[in-house]
Structure formats: C-alpha cells, structure tokens
Amino acid sequence: MKFLEENMVQFDVEVANAEEAIEAAGNLLLQQKLIESSYIQAMKQAYQTNGPYFVLAPQIAIPHARPEDGVNEASVSLVQLKKPIPFGHATNDPVRLVFGLGAASSDEHLVLLRKLTGLLNNADNINQLIHARGIADINKIIEMGR
C-alpha cells in the first residue's frame, strides 16, 4: 500500500486538458510499478464512458479504474496542476488536484480510501495541498490530520 509517498506527488504540473491530467497522475503510479500501463488506458476510458463524475469536490478529481485493469498494489498519487483544468463537471470544475487511485481488491484499498477521505473531508487540508511546494509540505498536512 502506497499513499502519497515521495515520487508519487508532482507539483506545478502543466497539462493541456483533462486526459493529460489523468495520464500524469497515472504515470506517477506506473513509474513506481504500482500499476500497468493498461490501467491508465482504462482510467481514460472510464472518463470517456462515464463522464467526469470522479470530480468529487470542487477542484478535486480522483480518476481510477477497476483492479482487474492492471493494479499491482493499492496506491494513491497526486498531481498538483499549475493551471486549473476543466473536466466538464457541472459544479466542481475547474480541477487543481488530481489524485490517481490504483484501486485494488484487497482490504488495503479500503484503508487507502479512508486515509484519502480523512484528508479531503477537511477544507483546510485541500487549500494547503493546492499551495504545497514539496513533499515535506504534503507529509506535514498528512501528519496534522492524524
């Protein structure tokens, strides 16, 4: 289980559109071998098929696919976007934070989602994540929430 560890968080990322943002979040998981490249394809496919419902709150997208699409380990990455990007969500656009979720079928998946929910249920944390400059800032935000 890997949750926003070093090399899984990228700051000030420039992308042109929602698909590139999803790819960037997926690539962080791919580089750590937590998912296979097929999973990134499935994330983008899910966006095309089901729309931007995974923009769960203002500024926050959590793209994901199914465990069988190629997840090696339950994991969460984060791409902080330099410029807000519209995903086409009626109330929560534009997106600033993209959490790539490697969805596993294990209990670890539940533990990860609890961590993520605990972090994002607090509006102060979201604001701090948007302005974080490095992994030390991220760790501080996660520590404070415990």
Binding site: Y53, F54, A103, T117, N121
Partner: protein, 91 residues
C-alpha cells in the same frame, strides 16, 4: 432495515468514499441503515429505499423506484448531512 445504495460509474472508488461519509452521517443521526456501494448499471436492477449519487450519474437511474438523492461535493459533510435530512425519513 432501510437500504441505501451509493453509486458511481465503476463501483470501485468513488461510491466507497461516498459510502464512508454517508454511513458516518447516518450514524451521527442515529438512523440505522444498510449502506452498499455499487456501479450505476448494477444499481438499476437492485432494490433500495434510497440511492445517493452525483448529479452526473443520476440520469442513468431515472425511473428507479428508490428515492434518488444528489450529492455534489463528496467531501462536504455538511452537504451530505443536509441531503440526508431533507430526503431520508428517519422513522
């Protein structure tokens, strides 16, 4: 017991997050309910008293006998609490 479904596109991530927060809200209100998470196509053929989902996905559930409750911000406990208060009959 009251049956509640939280629904997302795949039934893997988003609906689980919503389930966690809905369960917390129901617990705090003392409402006993069985909350299950699933994807939108499975939900269409499931029995439930209430379905909680996003505006985007609710269109796929038009005609479902359950009462549909919309939540826009899954991390806003105030919105979730309000949606439940306005829509769920606690008796």
């Amino acid at each position: 017991m009251m049956k509640v479904l939280t629904v997302c596109g795949l039934g893997q991530g988003t609906s689980l997050i919503l389930k966690m927060n809905v369960e917390q809200a129901l617990r705090e209100k003392g409402i006993r309910a069985d909350v299950e998470h699933t994807d939108v196509s499975t939900a269409s053929s499931m029995n439930a008293d209430y379905i909680i989902t996003s505006n985007e996905l609710s269109e796929g559930l038009i005609g479902h006998p359950a009462k549909i409750i919309i939540v826009n911000n899954y991390f806003d406990m105030e919105e979730i609490n309000q949606a439940i208060e306005q829509n769920v009959d606690s008796n």
